[in-house]
């Protein structure tokens, strides 16, 4: 307690230094210098120190997913099963991902569309992150009129405490598919939610999502989503995601399980 009082007293006397470079914030030209950068008198980086056993900031993970979707609207009320393989490459502030999938629908197996995406992470400060990305859906599913779709995505994550965050985002897809029976337009979805680290190994989130279908005649789809992430050890992790449609007579729901491995 005495130590804390001394610390708080000391802090109140001396100017705050957000990036801990020795240059007080009021005269620091570069306020968000990474801690292991050595700085000059103006507070800006001169060079960077490397930790002895510091790993490269690049990493790769592979994620295998299995998905069950239920739709009350379909005549047979049949569940649809799908599986996917997702590969993510993280390179500093960039993320490159590719996802291939397989559908098992009405006893017919087929490939799902293949998605390739690139995301750029912009860390605005220690607690606030902005992510912008672009993606392309390659028409590997064999339905008639399937074309290349592409779009952009954005997301913000704000950690208002060590364990808790709020996030929001959206995705706009330019749909080029052709359908003779129904008119098709571009797809747009947006979401907002809250995430919480229950422990270092467990993370949960809840969010609301609103989605405009690519079909003109369809109403907007509102869903409540929940996600769980569990870190088994340094390399292995799993996630479980449940989606429940709301405000509709014929409800859809979807459960998605993923298991992943981080290579480095």
């Amino acid at each position: 307690m005495r130590y804390l009082v001394i610390i708080l007293f000391t802090t109140s006397i001396y100017s705050l230094d957000y990036d801990m470079d020795g240059v007080p914030d009021d005269i620091d030209v570069c306020n968000y210098t990474p801690f292991f950068d050595r700085v000059g008198s103006n507070g800006c980086s001169v060079d960077r120190l490397t930790l002895p056993n510091d790993k490269d900031s690049n990493s790769i993970d592979i994620v295998l997913g299995y998905n069950i979707s239920h739709n009350d609207e379909s005549p047979e009320k049949e569940d649809i099963y799908s599986s996917s393989i997702l590969l993510n490459y993280y390179s500093n502030s960039w993320i490159y991902g590719i996802k291939v999938g397989f559908l098992d629908k009405e006893d017919k197996n087929s490939a799902d569309d293949t998605t390739i995406n690139i995301k750029k992470i912009i860390q605005l400060n220690q607690d606030f992150r902005f992510t912008i990305g672009m993606f392309i859906d390659i028409p590997t599913n064999n339905f008639d009129g399937n074309r290349v779709d592409y779009g952009i995505s954005e997301a913000i994550n704000y950690y208002f405490s060590e364990d808790m965050s709020i996030f929001a985002g959206g995705q706009y897809t330019i749909v080029n598919d052709v359908n003779n029976m129904e008119n098709i337009h571009n797809q747009f979805n947006s979401y907002i939610g809250i995430g919480y680290f229950v422990s270092k190994k467990i993370y949960i989130n809840f969010y609301y999502e609103n989605d405009r279908s690519k079909f003109y005649i369809k109403h907007r789809i509102n869903t409540i989503n929940s996600g769980l992430f569990y870190q088994f050890n340094k390399d292995w992790f799993a996630s479980l995601k449940y989606i429940q449609e709301i405000f509709d007579e014929d409800l859809h729901n979807n459960i998605d399980f993923q298991i992943g491995y981080t290579f480095w």
């Binding site: 230094d17 998905n67 979805n189 993923q258």
Partner: protein
Amino acid sequence: MKKFILWIFLISSLYSNIDEEIDKIQKAPIKDRYKLMNILKEKIVKMKEEERLKSISKLKLVTQGKMIKHKDDKKRIQIDTILDNRIKSTLKED
């Protein structure tokens, strides 16, 4: 004279513990603090991980008046990427 005082700080910092070093940095003239901080960073880099985290935590308590957040941005980004994996096909298009 000022250079001499700075040299005293620099040499003594090699043999002092983290609390003393933080205290010295805080008491040093503003224009010299960044040099001492650069030296402290060099020492922190060479520490073992646990010791390093404790040192940074103490430093943050002094310089920012709050405890350091032991967060792993890399892990957070990975989790957000995994859970943000949109389920686009079956739920939304049938």
